[in-house]
Symmetry: C2
Subunit: 338 residues, 2 copies
């Protein structure tokens, strides 16, 4: 007898970045991060729980237009490891078959591991018929090693970790600052790199502390976090925008000054940054941010989304423009991928 569940979980874009870990394997971050959960950028994942003679998990994925195929080792090993962790924590026994796909390019700094491991965690719990509060789901997703997955189990605007004492292991989870309806911000994404990036986020995290600017950024974060929390609470886009863009530039300056340096930007990243500065000079309130990758997320209010998308569409080096915005979080689906 087998049980199957399918979950669609969104990616998220960080306003304040997770960069540098106290414990990289368990994804215990040095600093709190805040993100907006997305809507159109998501992973869909089906998990089937099997009790049979084999003990090997089977991992399939689909990229682009083709059918499902066995996932490549580098990806499969992370999935297997997380399935083992979940099996151990839930004490469920058996093994899993997994099929997963993304609505957007993976491994290009688009937080595909956030949506992917959030979906994997929730679908696995679904296949096992285990219900638990969202903060426990967040903590389990985090144990995948993709820290930002802990934010993707929630919709709207999300902070991770909750500050306070006793935060560390299983209690270390994200929480919602405001739901998606509270502030319907748009996110127009300029895809300038759809292939995988040269340096993984995990390697970037490892090198973060070698940057001479690492400490300086850490010292700036409390006031930045406070500004972003206040902006979300008061729906104050004029407060939010500059902080979000400066924070993204900072992240990449820390990366570029690490040893060895990490360059995530592509030439067209600069083209988009410049175009967004010009948009602002023309009176359109739009602000850029990038996760650990080359693609640029341009955050704006809904009434400016058309103008932003139009501006980004024609830029040299922009392969595709995706229109996205804040989303409500993961959903169970009835149709399975397996």
């Amino acid at each position: 007898m087998s049980q199957i569940a399918t979950v669609r979980s969104p990616s998220n874009i960080a306003f304040i970045k997770y960069w540098g870990a106290k414990d990289l394997k368990k994804a215990i971050p040095v600093n709190p991060s805040i993100s907006m959960t997305l809507d159109a950028c998501y992973s869909r994942c089906s998990v089937e729980h099997l009790q049979d003679d084999s003990s090997e998990h089977e991992i399939f994925w689909r990229q682009g237009e083709g059918g499902f195929e066995e996932a490549p080792p580098a990806f499969a090993v992370r999935v297997r490891h997380h399935l083992d962790t979940l099996r151990q924590i839930t004490g469920c026994g058996g093994r899993f078959r997994v099929a997963t796909e993304n609505s957007f390019p993976a491994a290009a700094g688009m937080a595909s591991s956030a949506s992917g491991f959030s979906a994997l965690t929730l679908a696995t719990l679904g296949a096992l018929g285990i219900e638990m509060p969202v903060d426990q789901q967040s903590a389990l997703a985090r144990l995948s090693g993709s820290g930002s997955a802990s934010r993707s189990v929630l919709g709207g605007y999300v902070e991770w970790p909750r500050s306070g004492p006793g935060q560390g292991g299983a209690e270390h989870y994200a929480f919602q600052l405001a739901d998606a309806e509270a502030w319907p911000l748009a996110n127009i994404i300029a895809l300038v790199q759809t292939g995988p990036k040269d340096t993984s986020s995990l390697d970037g995290h490892r090198r973060a502390r070698t940057s001479p600017y690492w400490r300086t950024r850490q010292r700036r974060l409390p006031s930045r976090l406070a500004a972003v929390r206040k902006a979300i609470e008061q729906r104050d886009f004029a407060l939010l925008g500059p902080v979000v863009e400066a924070e993204a530039i900072d992240l990449h300056c820390v990366a570029m000054t690490s040893h060895p340096p990490v360059f995530y930007w592509q030439p067209a990243t600069l083209t988009v940054l410049e175009a967004v500065r010009r948009l602002r000079a023309d009176g359109v309130a739009a602000w850029s941010t990038m996760d650990a990758g080359a693609n640029v997320h341009v955050i704006c209010e809904p009434q400016d989304a058309d103008a932003v998308a139009q501006c980004l569409q024609g830029l040299e080096g922009v392969e595709r423009v995706m229109r996205d915005g804040v989303g409500g979080g993961p959903v169970r689906e009835e149709e399975h991928l397996l």
Copy 2:
């Protein structure tokens, strides 16, 4: 009766950057800088000293293929101001006619003001028949407001300021660390922006201290300066290269995190940086540096110059590749531009 003199003065590329001034008008820097004087990138300047009824200096320049024409106000005002300073210091009276041209694009972060004001200073002294030691020439060139001009009056490898007590006003000058023959390094320049940059170096200097990373960079400089001095003394390219590239990235990180931020890089700047990293991965010892502009100077040893030039030639966004190298410093010329 009039006296005329013509000087060809090279530009220079800084290994350790002048960025941030104690006194911007007098170009008193916060930190010492070290540069390599170039050869093929130069300004040529003729100055004629006139004793007539007019008191207005006349400033002509030539750009590209055209003839000499009246220099535009933004440039002419800086030249006039420096001529007034020189007139006052030398007590010469009269007025000057000036004609100047560059062998490379001006105002694109190629230190055109360094070569230009060095040539202007030396040609003015020549027209006045005034001889003085090179350290005094350096201090006078510096008073133009282009601090790096103080380095361009010397050939080879140059440090400014000489560290020591009592350095401030007229005594604040550059000195030679090694001459050009001592270490014939090559500099292959990828021109990715030949039009003027958006933010002048002077504005960049003004904003430098607003970067949260400003102090951190200052703290790193003593060990960097020591490494570059040692590398030049011992002709140790393996020591020099990494420091030079990291220092350039740092400069731009400080600029990009200033308030308001200063973005000098163009998309093709990143293309070149990436190509140079690939060259190194292929075993070619070449290192990038940029002054306050988008163009990339790739420093290498002479035997690698062909490989570097060939690599840069075909890159997208690279308008032109200039082959240059360390040069011997300014020279008097017999043929005048006036």
